[in-house]
Amino acid sequence: MTQTASDTAPAGAPSGTPLLQLEGIRKRFGAVEVLRGVDLTLRSGQVTALVGDNGAGKSTLIKAVAGIYTIDDGRMLWEGRHVTVHNPKDAAALGIEVVYQDLALADNLDVVQNMFLGRERRRGLLLDEDSMEKSAGETLASLQVTTVRSVRQPVASLSGGQRQSVAVAKAVMWNSKLVILDEPTAALGVSQTRQVLDLVKRLGERGLAVLIVSHNLNDVFEVADRIAVLRLGEMVADVARGDVDSQSVVELMTTGRSDRLTADGPAPTSSAASREDA
């Protein structure tokens, strides 16, 4: 990896070292190779959008990083160190949090119970409900999630945008360094999408690395600092937002190439961290 670009991240990894580097990630399901040697670099304070057609392998890549799937080949470097992630706990221990497409909230539990699921605070052996309720409220307030009326209402009673906000808040509660969002706005209306996009921008401003999967290029161009394009399991581009327009991204997604990009430089897959806004 080239280390030329100065790190503009407000917090997080030591300057220069990316937070997460994926090198040659491969994953197959039976006979189908879904990820075919994927490279990707994520930095603190940056929002990276991962785009690609349906079935390109975006969700699979995310699940590999999150430890849901074990990869067949390739390396994962976290803050420059080689790591292997066997399960979601390993990923969480590194500081990786994922907001899944299917949300992964339990409808019958309330907001606090969901936000702390798997990491309940205890006082001795007993659940420390008061402390958890307080922290959940504070986290939501700090993210300016104001539409959730009570943190003690069951998640089933929330709107789509509220549920997504709770899922995101759940992800940032844990001193996480990388938050991954899989299609966070797919099922949302206009104003709810706005809530969630604002939230995503705030995460980047907080110095977190964010990887957001989206189909909606308007959303992508609004929140992302970098855009990575996955096509049929291969990373065909990883570029700064300013280097592309939406038409070339569409070309990359569908054909794997864009004339406008290759015209003014080397193949975009070599992610030489050419950040315009650096």
């Binding site: 849901i68 399960n87 019958n108 798997g118 008061d130 959940a136 307030a141 003690r152 069951p154 089933a156």
Partner: protein
């Protein structure tokens, strides 16, 4: 209410602006402003009408059943008969306390009736003859075996991924067979141990009963007040003190009424009075499992796995451990129920019916308000549902109706309970509540 101090307790990092405080206050529980008893009652009623009925239907059902039986036979509401309800419902309540854990996962356990039956036989065998073991060894052996059976069945379900319906159906058949093999044809094993027979047949002295009722009420009051006070100090919204006191009063009143009823003489020739031992066993088990479900991480995981197993798995919950433990708990409570059932009959015999017991205990849990689809239910439902079953059984007996009629009425009550729940669920869906 002394809620003003809350405003001084916001997060240390947050600027102490009113807007920030208002936001935090708005996020915690029910709005802080709503703090009168009347407001709370109104909020509760709104929830009930939107389908979040809680235990209301089953309580109303119990009252209706009581009115019907009392109008047909004025012995129904006598101290003597009401006290009889406790041992009559005990087996179903104890089984249901275990079954509720299984139902919370969205699974089923058909075997508990015969597992408990087998446990009772093991206990009776150990208490038999000149070399009888002491009662507690016999009881521990019973519970140990039934818990182990539950765990083994749980492992088949979790590790091999077999449907719980099938594995426990095999248990239903298999353990019944093992029990019959032990007893032999038409066999009966009488139980002569007084301690064991007293579990279902003995009672506390009236004074001991009062002490238990008062200490229990004070404990409940202490825990409730302490919890509310701690929430207040953490700056979280607390229910109005009048509501807290009302709840405490309700529990104390129930304890006093039960004690008065049980302390009335219900004997014919010789005086019999006092709270039955089995009532303490039931209340103790209820308190234990309520504690496990609401205060321990394990209980939270049971709800989480029942609500969304995948979410729980991704959160790092070990599904195999949670599921297997739950089937172990069902086995454990089957053992306790088996001991109580054997104690009530002062024997075990081939005529005991573990098949009806399991169906009744599932019915009790569902009538009490526990969902068959997982994620929704409370330990208390076992008690309420078990009382309904016992009331039907007892009332029908008083009216001299055949067991055929009993089955039909129980079936109708079960259907009614599920129908009420389904209608309420539709209300909940419209109101956007689980």
């Amino acid at each position: 209410m002394a809620d003003t101090e809350q405003t001084t307790q916001t997060s240390p990092g947050a600027e102490d602006e009113p807007a920030e405080i208002a936001r935090l206050a708005a996020l915690t529980a029910t709005p802080v402003a709503v703090d009168s008893f009347a407001d709370y009652a109104r909020g509760w009623w709104t929830r009930v009408r939107s389908g979040d009925t809680g235990s209301l239907p089953v309580v109303i059902g119990l009252i209706i059943l009581s009115i019907i039986f009392q109008s047909q036979n004025h012995h129904f509401l006598t101290a003597r008969n009401l006290t009889n309800l406790i041992p009559q419902g005990a087996e179903y309540m104890l089984l249901a306390l275990g079954i509720i854990f299984v139902l919370l996962l969205g699974e089923i356990d058909l075997s508990v009736g015969f597992v408990g039956y087998l446990g009772g036989i093991i206990m009776a065998e150990l208490l038999k003859g000149p070399h009888a073991h002491s009662w507690w060894i016999a009881c521990l052996a019973c519970i140990g075996v039934t818990t182990a059976i539950g765990i083994v069945q749980g492992l088949f379900i979790t590790i091999l991924g077999l449907p719980s319906f099938i594995v426990t159906l095999a248990g239903y058949l298999g353990w019944q067979g093992v029990a019959l093999l032990i007893l032999g044809n038409g066999g009966t094993v009488p139980i002569q141990n007084h301690v064991v027979n007293d579990f279902a047949g003995g009672e506390l002295t009236p004074t001991a009963g009062w002490i238990v009722a008062i200490v229990g009420s004070l404990l409940f009051a202490g825990v409730t007040l302490f919890g509310a006070e701690r929430r207040r100090r953490s700056g979280l919204a607390v229910p109005p003190r009048s509501l807290t006191l009302f709840k405490i009063g309700l529990v104390a009143a129930a304890a006093i009424v039960v004690t008065i009823i049980c302390n009335r003489n219900r004997g014919a020739a010789i005086a019999v009075r006092g709270i039955p031992w089995v009532a303490l066993i039931i209340v103790g088990a209820l308190a234990l499992w309520t504690f496990v479900l609401t205060k321990l991480r394990f209980g939270r995981y049971v709800y989480a796995v029942g609500g969304n197993a995948e979410a729980a798995r991704r959160a790092g919950v070990n599904l195999v451990v949670v599921r297997t433990t739950v089937f172990g708990i069902a086995g454990l409570m089957a053992g306790v129920a088996g001991i109580v059932a054997a104690s009530r009959l002062e024997s075990v015999s081939t005529s005991s019916d573990g098949g009806t017991a399991v169906l009744y205990c599932i019915a009790a849990a569902v009538i009490g308000g526990t969902s068959l689809f997982g994620g929704r239910g409370k330990a208390m439902h076992a008690l309420l549902g078990g009382l309904v079953i016992a009331a039907i059984y007892n009332g029908m007996g008083l009216l001299g109706l055949s067991s055929g009629t009993q089955y039909v009425v129980t079936a109708l009550v079960l259907l009614a309970a599920v129908a009420v729940d389904a209608v309420a669920r539709r209300g909940r869906a419209n109101a956007g509540v689980v």
